[in-house]
Symmetry: C2
Subunit: 432 residues, 2 copies
């Protein structure tokens, strides 16, 4: 249920927040940052500023265990707390940062706020385990069609929220450059594999999910409670080495083709901030099976989808040298996921696997039904056979060194202030 913290009419005394594309007063995402090389600490994005939570605590403006957990240097303890604690901190932050805040608060501006442009963002949590799902049905269909034109989806797809374990150690915040991996690949026209730089480097547009309260080993999470185990959301770029993947992935799944680097946007957009952008899970097409009972909750079906506009932008060295705007590769929406986040959580824990605060989920690549919203170059270029033409006159089958990919997400709904996730960006460096 939305409350006064979603009131689109409320404005902040941090003037850049008013009308800010990502971080108006109604968003208040938490993250971990360093001002000017200082130690990492918890903060809140507000306009083009970051609110320094340890400074807010020190000034006596925030109190309590939840606020202290949000002050960092990682947010695992904050994520562990759940919705009630988050809502309390959110309400107090809203009060402190809104136009109605007492004058003394505004007098502390220099102590409490940093220019975001001067700060370094870190991962918001020490990631215990990272799991990547495959819930984008259009993506699964597009990719499956490249391999099996007549039968793109596996028989399990509409029963199981398919997923696999990813590599936690190589997740990095937005902005950290991505080194092109070396690896084994064997193109169809060669008889033996060779080892060298990836030739088919790709991005994947995904929603990231930060897990909040966990479960004990052996104790499943019922679907009706699954949403209470989510601490927040981010963007995730699941960089993919398609040629390495094609050679390595049988029979145990993707491995080095994915684990060389994954990028996340550094701000944790809370379930509370996203309340206005919840929507009903789209009805399953005629003929699709209903979810099995352990994955089915009426409330989740009514409110479990997220109406978030998702955009992928690309710049090349040539485009940047010419001062050109980024080229939009796609625009889609997170509503197109076949499985809700709650279904992913309930499925993951259904066999007893224990989730922990600070675990990260990826949704799987999100592609819209329309071609203009496909979430990877593999799909857009049809496996490299149909190069993408960029505004600069260049073409791309896959990513080249120096290319930079930028992911964005934005919630827009009539009557509410639009909010965004901030960027998830990464530039490709040449192979080592």
């Amino acid at each position: 249920m939305t409350d006064h913290t979603h009131d689109a009419g409320r404005r902040s005394w941090v003037s850049s927040a008013n009308g800010h594309a990502d971080f108006p007063l109604q968003n208040l995402p938490v993250g971990v940052f360093s001002p000017h090389g200082a130690a990492p600490r918890g903060g809140v994005a507000i306009g083009d500023r970051i609110l320094d939570l340890p400074a807010v605590l020190e000034a006596g403006l925030l109190k309590g265990d939840a606020a202290e957990a949000a002050a960092g240097p990682t947010l695992n303890a904050f994520m562990a707390l759940g919705a009630a604690a988050r809502a309390t901190v959110r309400a107090r932050l809203f009060e402190l940062l809104s136009d109605g805040a007492p004058a003394p608060v505004r007098g502390l501006e220099a102590r409490l706020l940093h220019r975001a442009a001067d700060c370094t963002m870190h991962l918001p949590a020490a990631i215990g385990d990272y799991t990547d799902f495959y819930a984008g049905i259009q993506h699964a269909t597009n990719v499956g069609r490249l391999l099996r034109p007549d039968n793109p989806l596996m028989p399990n797809y509409k029963y199981v929220p398919v997923g696999y374990h990813g590599r936690a150690s190589s997740v990095r915040p937005s902005g950290v450059p991505v080194r092109r991996p070396n690896g084994q690949r064997k193109p169809a026209n060669e008889t033996v594999p060779s080892h060298g730089p990836c030739r088919n480097l790709d991005y994947e547009l995904e929603l990231g999910v930060w897990i909040g309260p966990g479960n004990e080993l052996g104790e499943p999470i019922p679907i009706g409670q699954a949403h209470t185990h989510v601490a927040g959301f981010c963007l995730l770029n699941d960089w993919s080495a398609r040629d390495i993947q094609g050679w390595e992935y049988q029979p145990l799944g993707p491995f080095l083709a994915k684990s060389f680097h994954s990028s996340v946007s550094p701000w944790v957009v809370t379930p509370e901030a996203l309340l206005p952008f919840r929507s009903a899970q789209p009805a399953r097409p005629e003929g699709d099976p209903a979810p099995l009972p352990h994955l089915l909750s009426e409330h989740d079906q009514q409110h479990g989808a997220l109406d978030l506009e998702l955009e992928v932008l690309l710049t090349t060295p040539t485009m940047r040298a010419r001062g050109m705007d980024a080229h939009r590769l796609s625009i889609g929406n997170a509503r197109h996921l076949y499985w809700t986040v709650a279904q992913m959580v309930a499925h993951h824990a259904s066999g007893g696997c224990n989730l922990q605060p600070g675990d990260l989920f990826g949704s799987g690549t999100i592609s819209a039904p329309e071609e203009t919203g496909w979430g990877s170059l593999l799909e857009i270029s049809m496996g490299g056979r149909r190069p993408v033409e960029l505004a600069s006159g260049e073409t791309r089958r896959f990513l080249e060194d120096g290319d930079e990919v930028i992911l964005r997400a934005r919630g827009v709904r009539a009557g509410f202030a639009p909010i965004g996730f901030g960027e998830c960006r990464g530039m490709i460096l040449p192979a080592a």
Copy 2:
């Protein structure tokens, strides 16, 4: 190169160590334990006792950063140190626990030693990431044959040390009971899947590898240095829900079928203790490709294999009620791995993925060429079609509730004291 700490003639004043099947003076594995419910701390197994490292430090008998790191409460910092630091601690421990130790040390016995039977063992490290390989070629062949009789091995098998990311959060030390998972499964004779207790629960006999010093993201580990990144070894039981796996694993690999629980033996057997049991990697059969250059080192080919006898034992409730000995399901050897541990390390890092101290690798199920050494029930019972007859007159296709599986490993070589890993055991509890 072996040294005086491998001298089979040296004896310990801890009398149970002399001739101990697992933990003679020449082994000295490190682990984390709690005496009688006290706080976790580092220790060393010696006979049927555990040497309390914080107590040894407090008594002034050990000094230095490496010894302090080994004192716990996790061994990640100790694992990060590498071979020289481990060897220094090993030499000093050998001196303190050998017959030649000064009389004052022996006078402190009550302070320094605990009866292992009175202690609780913990995981030796906070596991960052867990990766499971598939290097047991006989296992890969046996399993592949069940699916593809004419073509059991994938074309990549002899080029790529195939592996996948596993779940770190659900790894538990030996002795923690294993709850049978619920999950989705669709037997061939049913048209739609159902959700319920796993019907084909299995064990997998694997060698575990604890990673020591890590690498930076983007910086591969050359094969010639890969062995320096290994901190030690353990046994690993990669419990597997075969029916869940069969339904879920396409196209992204095993997920919930494996992540409900994995068991490790709690003692870290160091590379130094295992020096006498190194052996040459068996020559690849005629016609197999040579490893690609980034996976090939002469030293590794000469010394990279481990000559360790591996045994799997089973007890059932009936057998225990009748006081019967455990039934031996298999006896094999770790020499049969197609890839060395150094090749796994070099491969894992070859695309730039960063390893971290305390990461865990599994070797993949180790099956001997002979049927008597196959490392899972799936293989022994030929997919459940040929039930195993136990000494009790019972039969098993797969594991039943109350069954307990025990893994053991032992190095035996003429002229050296045999050493063992201690047990990796787990009993099956009924599904939730």
